[in-house]
Amino acid sequence: MVERLPRYRPLGVSLAPAPRIDYAGAGAAEARGYQQMSQALDRISAYAFEEAGKRAEREGAQYDFENPITKEQIEAAMESGMDIDDVVGDPNTIYGSALRSSVGARLRTELEFEARKHFDGLTAAFKSGLPIDVQQQQIEAKALIAGHRDVLGKIDPKEANAYSASTNALFSAAFKTGLESQYKRIKAQERASIADDVDGSGNRFGAVLASAAGDTDDQGRDITLSHAYQLRDQITARTINVGDPAYTESVREALNKEISDQRRAVLANHLFERFDDAADREEAIARGDFGRYTALFSSIAGDEIEKDELLKYVRDEQVAQDKLDDDAENESKESAQRMYADAALTFQSPKSTPEQRVAAEGILSQMARRGEITIPEYNTATKIDDAEAGGEIAVYTVAERITSGITNNISELNDDFNSFNVPFKKRVELLNRLTTRQSAVAKEIRRQANTMSGLLPDATIGPEANIAEAQAKEAAITLAYEQKVEDYENLLTAWEQTDKSTPRPIEPTVRSVAVGVIEDEITKSFEAARDEALEALKLFFSERKIPVGDIDLGQLTKADNLPDFLKERLNSNQMRAINGLIPPYQRAQKEYLEHLKGKGAK
């Protein structure tokens, strides 16, 4: 029964497994979305930063171009303890780095140029042979390079090292030239000193040999001659310092010749002292009769050539004495002729006063009495040609006026003819003289203008610019020359009205006038450079419409010294720009003043 009762039969229901949901994957996918967005934004930011960096780099370089920072500004900043970053930018930023790089490169170029100029000047000075202390120059050059290097080092160490390397190389070349020059100078000084000794050796040898008293040394030679040879050897020994065997030999030869010459002179003088007659002197040579100089003569007794030279010397000396006598006589005659001419001119000049004529006549009559002039010459000098008024004196006076440039055209010549009453038959001759003079002056002016314009003196063709320059200079010199001649005429007229105790005015020459014209041009160029620099400073303010009032910008030494009302209107860049404009003006002003000083101005 029990087995047949129904029982619950399980259906086999069981729990379903929990679904596998990938929350982590979903979260990762969401995160990837955000990350992609972030990456895109990062790329945009990177691009923007890159572009901004490039722009900052450009701006840094541009800033330096527009507001060039000078060495003086940097030095002033360093001295005042300012942070250099405030002047040339922070090197840790792109802008500052670019600015520093630009400033460094530019300053390096400028400083190298400055150093090169200095060293070139030094080299030129060394080469010129001036006595310059090379070691002192080395110290100064090192200081210059170190100073510049320090300034550059604050901005860009790489540029500083490059500057140091290049300028040290430049100075090494200059230093080598200096050492060579110094060595040459020392040798030249030694040579000059030896040359002085050689030049003075004649007198010393002469004195030594003339003191001979007939004494001889162990070998029977005249003792004074041995002394002369010792002196020669002393001088020759100094030539070893020059280090030139050929020079040593030449000095030795010169001294030997000097000894021979002095010996000859001492012997000849002895003969002239003892004998008045030439034949006696020659006979004494033949006999070897030289009194206390016989021992000295014996040193050449066996040398026929030297004896002939002595004979020739004695004869030449005789001829020279005769010539001296003749010259004295000629000079006396010439002096008399000059005195005669001066007295005759004074006597015949229409401008001479009666007192001057009386004095001149007195001189002429005395000369006639002393026989220095003949009676016809006296008559000629004291006779005024009355045949034509003016006469030769008028011709002479006008000719002189033409020569000195006072009369320099036909109109003035005609005036002279009438003023001085020049004889008609002489007028054509004077006209020709005037024409010749005018041509000569014009030619000389053209030659000077050509030379000063880089052309050959007589050139008529050449580069167009040079020809144009020469023509302009020719016109300027002509104008200046005419003015100078006019000034000279006025000075001469004034001088002739005085007692003539002051020197007669000097007539101008074309060359002196040309030099004056060029000097004026140079002065003007210095003035123009200075004015241009000052104008640039003024323009800076006027372009920004900043009135400077009665401020004298020429007195400005740095922007910091501007009055507050101006500084308030300027930013730091503009202040730096002003500091950059001041040094060029100061340099130009200094050069202008130095030029004036060089011309003699106070």
Partner: protein, 175 residues
């Protein structure tokens, strides 16, 4: 381009700020997913445990069913089911059934604990992902700030300027 050129550093800075925000959100999203995955792991573990609980119940049922059959058959055969061999067989049934029941209980514990451990691991990863997002964002902002400051520009106008009149009544003479 020229017009926006001056604003480029600021655009870049803004972009970096948004990017940093994105990185932070990415970390958070990943962390959220992992936290949910941890919860899911626990649900799955509980489900497994329930299966083992069901097996335990089945084992108990099997004991009752076996002993009932044993009692009935013994009684039908005239054998006392509560003594002798019948009792021995009933005790054997209880012993074997109890063994299986205890195994299912152990399996429940293993399933639950395994789920907890897995959930804990997911939670740790979530924290790490969130922290990673924060660090990445901070790195982006720091990098952008550095880049911004590295660009640089003209310095501010300098001070230390002075003006001194050179003497009484001197108007604007500079020294």
């Amino acid at each position: 381009m020229a017009a926006i050129a001056p604003a480029l550093p600021y655009i870049a800075l803004a972009g970096s700020a948004v990017s940093a925000f994105g990185q932070m959100q990415a970390g958070k999203a990943q962390a959220r997913g992992l936290a949910q995955q941890a919860a899911m792991s626990q649900v799955q573990a509980r489900s497994e445990a329930l299966k083992y609980q069901q097996q335990g119940v089945n084992a108990l049922k099997n004991i009752v069913r076996t002993n009932s059959t044993l009692n009935a058959r013994a009684a039908a055969g005239g054998i006392d089911p509560f003594s002798g061999s019948a009792l021995g067989l009933a005790q054997f049934t209880q012993s074997e059934g109890a063994k299986e029941f205890f195994v299912t209980e152990d399996n429940q514990i293993i399933a639950r604990e395994g789920g907890s451990i897995q959930a804990q691991l997911y939670m740790d990863q979530a924290k790490q992902a969130k922290r990673g997002g924060l660090f990445a964002a901070a790195g982006t902002l720091l990098s952008a700030g550095t880049s911004f400051s590295k660009i640089g520009g003209p310095s501010t106008p300098g001070a230390n300027v002075s003006y001194a009149p050179s003497g009484p009544g001197a108007a604007g003479l500079l020294v």
